[in-house]
Assembly symmetry: D2
Homo-oligomer: 452 residues x 4
Amino acid sequence: MLLFNELFSFGALQQILSDESYLQYLLDFESALAKAQSHSNTIPDQVAQKITAQCRADNFDLAALAKQTAQSGNLAIPLIKSLTESVSLRDPDAARFVHWGATSQDAIDTAAILQLRDTLALIENDLHRLTEILATLANEHRKTPIVARTWTQQALPTTFGFIVAGWLDAILRHRQRLHESRPGILTLQFGGAVGTLAALGPNGPKVAQALAQELHLTLPETPWHTHRDRIAEAAALLGLLSGTLGKIARDISLHSQTEIAELSEPAVESRGSSSTMPHKRNPVTCAIVLQAAIRVPGLVSTILSVMPQEYQRSLGLWHAEWETLPEILRLTGGALHHLTDMLPHLLVDKNRMRQNLELTHGLIFSEAVSIALAQHIGKAAAHQLLESASQKAIASKRHLKDVLRDEPSLRTHLSDEDLTRLFDAKNYLGSAEQFLQQVVARARAFPAPAAT
Amino acid sequence: MLLFNELFSFGALQQILSDESYLQYLLDFESALAKAQSHSNTIPDQVAQKITAQCRADNFDLAALAKQTAQSGNLAIPLIKSLTESVSLRDPDAARFVHWGATSQDAIDTAAILQLRDTLALIENDLHRLTEILATLANEHRKTPIVARTWTQQALPTTFGFIVAGWLDAILRHRQRLHESRPGILTLQFGGAVGTLAALGPNGPKVAQALAQELHLTLPETPWHTHRDRIAEAAALLGLLSGTLGKIARDISLHSQTEIAELSEPAVESRGSSSTMPHKRNPVTCAIVLQAAIRVPGLVSTILSVMPQEYQRSLGLWHAEWETLPEILRLTGGALHHLTDMLPHLLVDKNRMRQNLELTHGLIFSEAVSIALAQHIGKAAAHQLLESASQKAIASKRHLKDVLRDEPSLRTHLSDEDLTRLFDAKNYLGSAEQFLQQVVARARAFPAPAAT
Amino acid sequence: MLLFNELFSFGALQQILSDESYLQYLLDFESALAKAQSHSNTIPDQVAQKITAQCRADNFDLAALAKQTAQSGNLAIPLIKSLTESVSLRDPDAARFVHWGATSQDAIDTAAILQLRDTLALIENDLHRLTEILATLANEHRKTPIVARTWTQQALPTTFGFIVAGWLDAILRHRQRLHESRPGILTLQFGGAVGTLAALGPNGPKVAQALAQELHLTLPETPWHTHRDRIAEAAALLGLLSGTLGKIARDISLHSQTEIAELSEPAVESRGSSSTMPHKRNPVTCAIVLQAAIRVPGLVSTILSVMPQEYQRSLGLWHAEWETLPEILRLTGGALHHLTDMLPHLLVDKNRMRQNLELTHGLIFSEAVSIALAQHIGKAAAHQLLESASQKAIASKRHLKDVLRDEPSLRTHLSDEDLTRLFDAKNYLGSAEQFLQQVVARARAFPAPAAT
Amino acid sequence: MLLFNELFSFGALQQILSDESYLQYLLDFESALAKAQSHSNTIPDQVAQKITAQCRADNFDLAALAKQTAQSGNLAIPLIKSLTESVSLRDPDAARFVHWGATSQDAIDTAAILQLRDTLALIENDLHRLTEILATLANEHRKTPIVARTWTQQALPTTFGFIVAGWLDAILRHRQRLHESRPGILTLQFGGAVGTLAALGPNGPKVAQALAQELHLTLPETPWHTHRDRIAEAAALLGLLSGTLGKIARDISLHSQTEIAELSEPAVESRGSSSTMPHKRNPVTCAIVLQAAIRVPGLVSTILSVMPQEYQRSLGLWHAEWETLPEILRLTGGALHHLTDMLPHLLVDKNRMRQNLELTHGLIFSEAVSIALAQHIGKAAAHQLLESASQKAIASKRHLKDVLRDEPSLRTHLSDEDLTRLFDAKNYLGSAEQFLQQVVARARAFPAPAAT
């Protein structure tokens, strides 16, 4: 719904996904086809110019096309008919070369690829922005202690920077995947009625090559009308990306809970304020990103499930892609954009992180103590001593450090200073900072997307 | 996309699913709430009138609301704010009773239910139409022989009417399910901020009851903010329906193949004609129905997967329903409508059905002969004789009847007349007609949907 | 995997879903068919006895059947062949009546229905247990205050009993749905090769009726080989149920977080203890229930997507159900069972609930104060005053009550006693208890499942 | 179910996916960890030997482990406990180094990666076999005419070899994708309790590197406990592959229909014979492959939807992967294997292909004639003439060639010889053979998988 376009998507993306743009992508195919045929001497130059001149979306009547689409079963048929009429009004001879040698699916699939390319360009730009934001955030908090949680239970200390580095590392992997898969995905569709380009006689491959050059798309070995793995690959890659965005949003939303309050979304204007509860500020961006991460998998599943398309053109399976792929683009691109816009303003409460490290009265440091002690009395004995002390601490609501101070068998080996050091989060962070630095270095070396 | 609304949906349904209607459903909730509070003496009558007067969708600025929705995280917040301002301009005192005691989710969920109710009314009307069409078609072809196919291989004779009766029987089950589930699904949402209706003090249940009456919705035992089983039940029921519509379309499309050609979609205007192949007529309606049957399951899966919503209001899971449920309504309702429109004009080629019964040169009658023969020489011997004769018929490309005529061990028991009878499809139809009549009778007795 | 059967499922359910039981369900069909044919005088009594005597799963070689299943494409073919041989050894004449008039799918589908019936009986028993547990828990905590959370943020007070009543209300709806849908789902499949029962001549319907009686299954109007809505309905209903179980587990797991700690899973033996962190106790049951709620939707989507089965027997779509439906039974039944086993031992920390109500320093009571104040100075002014006071409280880290005490414009209308009352959770619970009592009463009146 | 393992999977794959192998993969991790720690001087060599010696799956009690898994929530906990006891019996000092510094998820995730690696090796071998089979088949039929079908309607001629080349081209893309993604996917998991390797002090990275080397796995920049994109990438790639396998099976099954009969599965033993219809032979392999292509998308959707895992270890989402990923491996690997086994024996009926080209009485050649004619009278006039002639041919049931012979406006331009040439399929194949040769050449140059 239009009403949700700003919430779940954003202007530049909605522009790419609009009815008008879709028409234009179809017309770009027809226009490029005419040019390619002129370049390969299949049709006269001036015929190509006549056709190209009419390939402007605003020349066409959307409502009429929608009605005719319902009759013909696809949009290309009435659009080409209308384009042909439009060319014919100016030059009846030129009109007969409109869509020459192509089939509806050539136009529709190539339009989808062009739409995908423009969306990927937006996504790659946002991923680049996100990379820089996360690298900065990770680096800034490379020494900020926070409790790590497993199964939603407090576990051991870590740093907030290391958590962010985990997000960043995943984002870099997505950028790498998109970069590598891009040329294979952005491939021309051009096969004529049944993939043989028979209507073009011996000129087929030559026209196909010129057309691919014209549109800056990869030329495939064979037309791929009912082989949808490239479309499905694109859908799957975006599904993977939306999953990682969901992971970041999941973490932020969990850290934002009233009882944890280590992170919060920025108070941008009225975003997230409640209609009935003035004190509340809802993590709206997280909600947007999570809804995308929840919806995209079902849509990817649809794209995968329509891969077994019949013969040389499918009945129904192909149609199921038409709205599903744009929806994946819309939701993933929207989630990425909103998250990237929000993150530079994320509120990080280092004090609260420190306070929360104390909530278990030292229990989260039991492993650290156990390992230190194990060097003296063995792992099993150390583990047992800590387990028993932890139970005591819980039962008596005392701090574990205090309980341990009373353990003679421990005091033989660990001094007060030792204990103080062992109960300080920053002394049990393992290789967090080294890992973080590797990721940040890789992020900073990551090439920016080519300007488009 | 708008460009596909006529193809995948239709006017009356798109009207219900439009942005304008959605706003109006939200406003219908606000208006009914004011009336209910006046009826239950919670607010003065004239205040209710003042509020109600402003609850008209065309008073509001869609584009502005879309922008504010992105800020607040839901549409109800800016809409109620705008409604309040609008009432306030006329009567500042009345304005403070707008949305009194309710939360955003009360309005949004109830709006979804009202949208669902209107869609279900369309669907039930189309199902009623479909019932009559199928009952007529089944009855008309109750004696039309056709070959039954299993694993896409010709198997035994049946009748086309019996195939249609199978479709009809399934449609009746869906009508029954929808009829029984309707009241449970069409349930008011009204709980205030956290489901307790605390803002209304002791008046909560009284207002809730009046509100349910006002909107002709079922009053639930408890508000159901994060209990989504009713929404999911609706989605699942429509998923079931779209599956059966897909089954009907699957069958029609298979029977429409060039090589089978027993059925074809009507030649309505230019529907289904190919851009490059003048002789072709594509089964467009089947494609529409099949794409719906393929897309809806993934959407239902999304609705099911967001059921575990957190606490008293979800973060992201609830949002994932907002566009998904309407999409299920659009695709299922659209598929049903197009199929129902097409079916009265379905072309049935009885001659071709008869010819196709002969394609295997009698092999599809081998079971009939085998059973007749079994009464004389036992099942095993009969099966073996028929299997061997079938192999012979295939190898020699002769008709099975002719091969059998040369089998002395069979001629002892079966005369020429017997064989002629056994190789006539109409003599091996089992209980097809009796089954058909039961279904048609039930269809004719099925109550029409109440006028709405 | 066997290794996960105890974790995700449990003994009695795994028994129903075992290879041995599945064989037996198939044999139960064959046995009942023989009996039905003897009761309807289609075959001699003693033939039926001979067949029935061999219909015991432990007579058959599972490994050999698995191999032959790969050859024939379904299990029924080699099983029936083996059964026929087994009968033939004892009585060659009886052997020819094995599986008489039926097709493989009749046996396979009816076996699936029998397996479903036994699983539903387990599920209904567990739902009955769960109902009693939740009703008791809700009632016990009908006055236990707890903070309600929306978008994971603290919102307003409610009671823990009311939260439980919400779970209970949903469970009752599932029981109602299962109760109503049961007879329609538990329906005999019996149509012979193509649904006409032609091999039985005029006896088809009579045998079908006797067979349905024998198996205590509903007799359908027509065989339903490629009409899968009953199977899909069962899958969808279990999908709905697993969603609600997921909701309950989601809530418990959130309330169990270290920082919230209002609920925790019982410390049963070593359940949930960490390998590395002795102080940790993981909510294992919640994890089990949540993984089911996450996996089942994709499986339901598969079942829905295979509904458009071709002609009179499908190629591949039907096969996709064979393992998918049992997996839905296993996961949903397993989740229900583990949750029901855990819940009576759920640890409820009322003190912690009370403490958490104080975490926001009174902010969660702002709506209560606002409404009380609105009666004196109007809703808008009251809302504004509370919003401003809330900001002050947050900024100055003071309790909202203290901030308000300093507001002269409020003190005119609200006394110290008023404020004390307004900041007490038990005075702002709205209709929570009344709603709860309605649900508990309905639960207690809910009929127990019939003993099976 | 075991009963379906031969049907849907096969021996070598089931071995990899068995409970025993899974235990062994877990133990391989523990064993390699001990070795890696000895190599990096973290533990003594002989301790590592003591541990390694006990890491054999057949030492452990599967049934007991299954029971304990239900208690602890994962399999690694009881397995490690049991392993520790086992080592302890021999050397109590060594026992304390079992699983040293690792967390359960390190073992479980790495075991999943090892299982994935072994499965991918099987898959890559089968893909190599499949490549050779398809290249041979394509080449053999590079000049075999067949009718191309769009929307299941006969369209234009093509060659069977070109259809096979389309399958082959897709398979090569999958091989390329798997080859490129392999190293990124086959990555070690090793982070200790919360990803910092804190228990190993400064030795963490050194041990991690030695462990990756020991297991021949990629060393990641950071541990990836709750970043599941690699797992999801593997699932998605297999989803893509199963879609293409489904496409091939879809085509074969459609070409195998009784009425088309251009292809058929080989008559291997009793595969595909019907229980009731001796003349029938069902395409069992196609059914197996299609059921996989239908089921895998829902499973991939599950894997994608569990990506947003909480904090440093998930509650429930991670658990949802445990059985889902192996099921994707089983179904995709099984489908690939059965298809590859069947294809060399596929029966290709070139005569039937030729006969079917004549079914439309020349209509499928109308485009060829139209294009030839267009050079003389223009595209529009030619299209119109052919459309009208086609209608005449259909109405009069005459061959289009004969109708055209009577058209004076055509006879001016096209001779009898021209018409004969234009109605010969082999003269309207466009670039089919050139496309085919490109693909076959690429297939033959494709590197074989490294021996494993």
